[in-house]
């Protein structure tokens, strides 16, 4: 065994490691096959880096916008992270991100932090997300559900154990519930709609899982089960699940979670708006400015690929107007630092804007 030989071998191993990482550094960015080159237009010379963090629900939308954006501006480096809405806002007020993706409006506490750290922002709604309450296709007794029935089923420790506890005409069988994990925005949203106003918690004996595919399998595999998750998971598994129409408390009509009903705000209260929050100081940077304008202009066409529902054009127009006028602040927190109550369409008006 020769000392020189093995040191040479180890050196080869290390050098090959360096070469591998070295090669990757010199690889130009549009090296993959799917970057479209626009022949008749000169390549944009826009440069820079944009950092986006926040909701994993908004992440696919931002990813889709990024993908189209870098086809036009290949030298801009856009990083989209999906660490959750709360973490996204934390990064945003700590100046770790230029744009915060959010699946809910900013909370008063987060707004205060922004003010304290001197972060002013523009609030822009980009799409809708619907929450589906799904049952097994063999379930023939649930035709529609009201918010009261859902509260009976999901809220508190004394929640209904059997279907017959909700409605005496339903079978005398235990309800098996599948729900997303407590860390997810979907769980938060469901909790907010059903339990928060009464200062209660959702029942604790649900099967929780962060992986929505497992929830789909759970509901599809048990006749007496019910579950809730993002509308995208329902659309992808339409043949294995049945979505329950939800009675809108305003007009007492039950609506299916279809694109039309979500977009027209009829599928209430289980549709929610998705936002991006843009640091107004970052908006002075050319690359951020061009990107955000591109975002608002194209998000309605791109969000469907990202499993979301487009906003009505009037909302997009108002977002565009706010962006053009650089209207800073939020619509969802009062000047006294309280959350505003009400539906998105009612609150998203310029009178409610608080800097």
């Amino acid at each position: 065994m020769n000392y020189r030989n093995w040191i040479a071998c180890v050196a080869t191993l290390l050098v090959s490691g360096i070469v591998v990482s070295g090669c990757s550094k010199s690889t130009p960015s549009p090296s993959d096959g799917n970057t479209a080159t626009v022949d008749d237009m000169p390549e944009s010379n826009l440069v820079g880096a944009i950092k986006i963090d926040g909701s994993s629900t908004v992440q696919p939308i931002s990813d889709a916008v990024r993908e189209e954006f870098i086809k036009l501006h290949p030298q801009v480096d856009v990083t989209v992270s999906g660490n959750g809405t709360g973490n996204g806002f934390k990064a945003f007020y700590d100046k770790g991100a230029d744009i915060s993706d959010a699946s809910r409006p900013i909370k008063p506490g987060e707004f205060e932090k922004c003010q304290a750290n001197g972060v002013s922002f523009i609030e822009l709604p980009v799409a809708y997300d619907g929450l589906t309450i799904a049952v097994n296709p063999e379930n023939d007794w649930v035709k529609e559900l009201t918010v009261e029935q859902l509260t009976k089923m999901f809220v508190g420790e004394d929640a209904a154990k059997k279907w017959s506890d909700v409605d005496p005409s339903w079978p005398d069988q235990p309800i098996k519930i599948f729900a997303p994990g407590t860390g997810s925005g979907t769980y938060d949203y469901f909790h907010e709609v059903l339990a928060k106003a009464n200062k209660q918690e959702l029942r604790e004996d649900m099967t929780l899982n962060e992986n929505d595919n497992i929830l789909v399998q759970g509901v599809a595999g048990n006749k007496y089960s019910v579950g809730f998750f993002g509308v995208a998971y329902y659309t992808a598994n339409k043949d294995r699940l049945r979505a329950v129409p939800i009675v809108n408390p305003k007009d007492d009509v039950a609506y299916e979670p279809t694109v039309e009903n979500i977009s027209s705000n009829k599928y209430a209260p289980f549709s929610r708006p998705l936002f991006i929050y843009v640091n107004s100081e970052s908006l002075n940077r050319a690359e951020v400015q061009v990107f955000v304008e591109f975002y608002i202009e194209n998000v309605s066409d791109l969000c469907e690929a990202a499993n979301s529902v487009r906003l009505p054009q009037s909302m997009i127009d108002q977002a565009q107007a706010n962006l053009d006028a650089r209207e800073e602040g939020t619509h969802f927190v009062t000047a006294d630092g309280e959350s505003r109550e009400g539906s998105f369409a009612e609150l998203f008006v310029s009178e409610n804007l608080v800097k």
Partner: protein
């Protein structure tokens, strides 16, 4: 015949030896009772053999089921696009994992370059340079104990350690904040302002940044600017209120900006761009992973060094070699195959880790290239698989299965390279 050979090996050595002579004695007396006794023992032995076979078969079946189900699910997505493309949201079918493969390999390179020398060095110190002073011996034992304990710490804990140690560096070198500061930059960066020109479509010019404290600039008068080839030129200003018509000529438009147009800071970085703290970079991720595998490397190298026959070392000392000469010429060459086996296992673990990477780099999946500079973030294969597997669309789930196959193949390739090198060392 296999059965007989397995029996004495299985239980505790010293006790299992004893019944054998007894059995021989009983066999010598050749009574019916003793024949029954021996038949019973052989039956038991056969049962044990059966249990062993079925247990090992069970784990192979589980592995086979896993591999087959992944292969069936991912088969349709095992295309060249998978190896050349990047993650795509608008066209899931054209998604690929090229940036993730490069990302994982670069993280592994950083990890190997830092963990292997450190780990092997520590093992040499712990095994070859054992102190004689009782206090130092105690310290030595304490170190050994701690390293064994660290090997059992969950990797996410290392992720959190890496977050404060490498990503933030305890804020000792300043914080990385958008529009404000980039920590302590050491090399590879030039600072400019980027201003949009009249040409539109995101066309912009660069102006050198002289005062780092000013994140934005407002153009009120003609100023010296730089084009992308590094040539300087005079940037003209057009005032919409002055009545002069907006320039029509594209060449002029490229050199003209609106009066009062503001521009933000832009940092042009070279590949050797280096700053403290590391931020969410592949360097930080690689170093964090090296913390994860360091205990494994140390323990494997220690075992390998321990198994080198003491007579070899004593012969070396007998020839008058010093401690360092003995380690260099005798112990280490003899231990290299064992050390490399440990290194292979450790790198296999490093390439498959998702939890510490998620903590250090965040859940970024959309990136079209490998790292562009030392401080660039990367996508890694486990994080991409995690993201794809959780998506509702069937395409992504198939992609996840195909990506798992690619990950296994990359792992297999890395291991076979290491095994090849190990064999080569042995032969020579």
């Amino acid at each position: 015949m296999n059965i007989e050979s397995t029996t004495p090996v299985a239980p505790n050595d010293s006790e299992s030896q004893r019944p054998v002579p007894e059995a021989i004695r009983q066999g010598a007396s050749a009574t019916t009772e003793s024949t029954q006794n021996s038949q019973r023992r052989i039956r038991r032995s056969k049962t044990f053999y059966g249990i062993c076979v079925s247990v090992s078969f069970l784990s192979i079946v589980v592995l086979a089921v896993l591999l087959i189900s992944i292969a069936v699910q991912g088969r349709s997505r095992l295309t060249p696009t998978l190896l050349t493309g990047a993650h795509s949201t608008s066209e899931p079918a054209s998604s690929g994992m090229y940036p993730a493969i490069i990302g994982s390999l670069s993280i592994c390179a950083v990890c190997a370059l830092s963990a292997l020398p450190l780990g092997i060095g520590t093992a040499i110190f712990l095994e070859e340079f054992q102190p004689t002073n009782p206090w130092l011996r105690r310290l030595h034992g304490f170190l050994n104990l701690n390293i064994s304990n660290l090997a059992g710490v969950p990797s996410i804990v290392y992720g959190l350690l890496g977050l404060s140690l490498f990503v933030f560096m305890f804020n000792a070198f300043g914080q990385i904040k958008v529009n404000e500061s980039s920590g302590t930059e050491l090399m590879g960066v030039e600072r400019y302002y980027q201003i949009l020109t009249l040409a539109g479509g995101g066309d912009s010019v660069l102006v050198r940044q002289t005062d780092l404290a000013l994140p934005t600039i407002t153009i009120t008068e003609p100023i010296e600017a730089v084009d992308r080839d590094g040539n300087t030129f005079r940037l003209e200003v057009w005032d919409p209120k002055s009545g002069t018509p907006k320039p029509k000529d594209p060449a002029t438009q490229h050199r003209t900006v609106r009066l009062g147009q503001s521009g933000g800071a832009y940092a042009k970085t070279s590949w050797y761009y280096f700053r403290l703290p590391f931020g969410r970079s592949f360097l930080a991720a690689g170093l964090t992973l090296s913390l994860v595998i360091l205990p494994i490397v140390i323990i494997a190298a220690q075992e390998a060094l321990r198994s080198v026959s003491p007579s070899l070392r004593e012969a070396s000392y007998g020839l008058g070699a010093t401690k360092w000469q003995t380690v260099r010429n005798v112990s280490l060459p003899a231990a290299i195959p064992g050390i490399m086996t440990g290194a292979i296992l450790a790198m296999g673990r490093a390439i498959g880790e998702a939890a510490p990477i998620l903590v250090v780099l965040g859940a970024t999946v959309a990136k079209n290239s490998g790292p562009q500079n030392l401080m660039d973030t990367v996508v890694t294969m486990p994080v991409l698989i995690f993201h794809w597997a959780g998506d509702p669309q069937v395409t992504y789930q198939q992609l996840a299965a195909a990506a798992i196959i690619v990950l296994l193949l990359v792992l297999l390739l890395m291991n076979s390279l290491a095994i090849y090198l190990r064999q080569k060392i042995r032969v020579e």
